[in-house]
Amino acid sequence: MSSQISIQKRQSKTTRWLLAPGIIWMSLFLVVPILMIVYVSFWTQTTFNISPDPTLASWKQFFSSDTYTGSLWTTVRIWLIVLACTFVVGYPTALFVGLFVKSKTLSTVLLVICVIPFWTSFLIRVLAWRPMLGKEGAINIVLLKLGIIQQPIEVLLFTELSVIIGMTQIYCVFMVGPIAFMLSRIDRNIIEAARDLGAGFGRIFWKIIFPLSLPGVVVGAIFVSVMVLGEFATSGALSGRKVNLLGNIIVTQVGSLKWAMASVVGVILTVVMGIVIAGFLRIVDLKREL
């Protein structure tokens, strides 16, 4: 009995040591900064100075300005569109890589190919869209040469469309990966069993394959959402400053030393992300699936 207690004691001691680095790290670099941002958002901001006198001024300013609330809705809109695009492009890709490719080696190779763009830096990947989409860019030149269009398409670059195209390309792989993983874990026999029971491909997909891949969709959607909601570089580089996301506002506010306003936007962004993630986690019980 006493030896059992001492084993328990030793185990709880080990547990504490194993937990310590994570807890210290997370508190110092996540919990404390978040609390700090919340705190600073109530500070008093003057043109060149900031003082810790509590005020709601920055919050009032955010919600009374069309620019700020507008950028909140732009962020939500772009996020929803990019999420839908990554899903529409990513799911069939994942279906091919994870389910239709029979060889494990080949499906790994295909996944690695999806990741190859990540070998170059994020900015290069974003900026590479400029020579692609521009008025004299690759797409317009090809379409003109083929005689499909007479005038170059101008809406391709420095519009919301270019931001959506760029983000979809950059974040698609985060959707493909988790879905392909879940699909590859589906026992091929159950698909054969469903077919043997007379279900057609459509039924098998909607009743078996899709429900079983749903945890992957949720994980992918969380990845994409978190990254898109916090985005500022793609919209900065591809929209010609026409699309202002919450991330862009933070960058400008910090640039002009408006710490209080930057904090307000930061808190709002954090809350939005929290709601989005909580919403996705309600769809499936990830603890049970993974």
Binding site: I190, E192, A193, D196, L197, G198, A199
Partner: protein, 358 residues
């Protein structure tokens, strides 16, 4: 009239250079329990998958209910398949699994009728009251029943079971054996059961089909297969025979145990002398055996409840097994690492040879 439920005609299947099935022909009647016995890689699962329609044979035809179904896709064959690992739909409940084929196939039944038939089948396999459970909340044996019920709701004329008891523990396995037979008899359909276990094949099959390296090497009732294996390989798979190499000539078999007269023998491509484990007798090493005898050292014994297995090692390293049925009296006790003289009645041996008398 053709009374057979299904017939295989020279079915051949290759995977690259590997011949999985070599010219297999077989006929199965209605209302029969057939077991396919063979070691892994013998082609028994491939044969089952060809019948089910999951694999297409390179040559040969498959007939079902008098119709050539060789080119028919699996779901149009009306043949049920129970997978080795059950292949249940993990996100659905028991009743959703059982009713899947009726709900999502071409049955055209009303939801109420589907529920009635699913519940009826759930009751038949003894799972009443569990229909609302998720399939990950039930035990292995219960999952097996769900898999069976899911196939049976489609009213197949033929049910194929791929090592259905392989995933169960020993206790459950023997209970499911009886259960499977009972369910089959109630429905009056033909079951084809693939197994690597000779006990299972003999216990369950009305007919046993023995496969080796893609060929059907014997077909018969369990009694026929057990009492007169058609080849040394069959005798080997049955795991009931001590096999001795040697040579058969002029009506005598010459082996490590000396030269024995052979009254009759079975044609085979090699000369093998087979003696059933329970036909062996052990004598003190100094005794004078009347018939064939071989000197062997006692290694160990194993108590099996109804019988005792004794293991001996001959001088050439060959392990010889001797089974003593405990109903015949208390077993002999043997000294470890002592030599004994093993003998048997040559009348009871089965001899295979190139020079065969029948």
């Amino acid at each position: 009239m053709d009374t057979s439920v299904f017939r295989l005609d020279g079915v051949t299947k290759r995977y690259g250079d590997l011949v999985a099935l070599d010219n297999a022909s077989l006929e199965a009647g209605a209302n029969e329990y057939i077991s396919f016995l063979g070691p892994s890689g013998s082609g028994k699962t491939t044969l089952l998958r060809v019948i089910a329609g999951f694999e297409a044979p390179e040559a040969g035809r498959v007939f079902f209910n008098g119709r050539d179904i060789t080119n028919l896709p699996a779901h149009e064959r009306g043949i049920g398949f129970v997978f080795q690992n059950f292949a249940l739909f993990p996100h659905l409940t028991v009743i959703q699994n059982v009713g899947f084929g009726l709900t999502h196939g071409k049955s055209g039944l009303s939801a109420a009728e589907i529920e009635r038939r699913s519940l009826e089948m759930i009751e038949l396999v003894g799972l009443s009251g569990m229909e609302g459970r998720g399939v990950d909340q039930i035990s292995g044996g219960q999952r097996q029943r769900v898999a069976l019920a899911r196939t049976l709701t489609m009213h197949p004329k033929l049910v194929l079971l791929d090592e259905p008891l392989g995933a169960l523990d020993a206790n459950l396995r023997s209970r499911m054996r009886t259960e499977l037979r009972a369910i089959r008899e109630r429905l009056g359909v033909t079951f084809v059961h693939v197994t690597g276990s000779e006990n299972e094949a003999l216990a369950m099959g009305d007919r046993v089909v023995v496969l080796d390296r893609g060929r059907i090497i014997q077909t018969g009732t369990p009694g026929e297969v057990y009492d007169s294996p058609a080849s040394p390989d069959v005798a080997h798979f049955l795991n009931r025979f001590n096999l001795f190499d040697g040579n058969l000539s002029g009506g005598r078999f010459n082996g490590v145990f000396g030269s024995v007269p052979v009254p009759r023998s079975v044609r085979s491509d090699r000369d093998v002398y087979a003696v059933r484990y329970d036909r062996m007798r052990a004598l003190p090493v100094s005794a004078d055996a009347a018939g064939p005898a071989i000197k062997a050292r006692f290694v160990a014994s194993e108590y099996l409840g109804s019988s005792m297995m004794n293991f001996f090692e001959a001088e050439d390293g060959h392990v010889i097994e001797m089974e003593h049925h405990l109903s015949l009296g208390t077993p002999q006790t043997f000294e470890a690492r002592q030599d004994y003289l093993l003998t048997w009645n040559p009348e009871q041996a089965i001899v295979f040879g190139r020079e065969a008398s029948r």
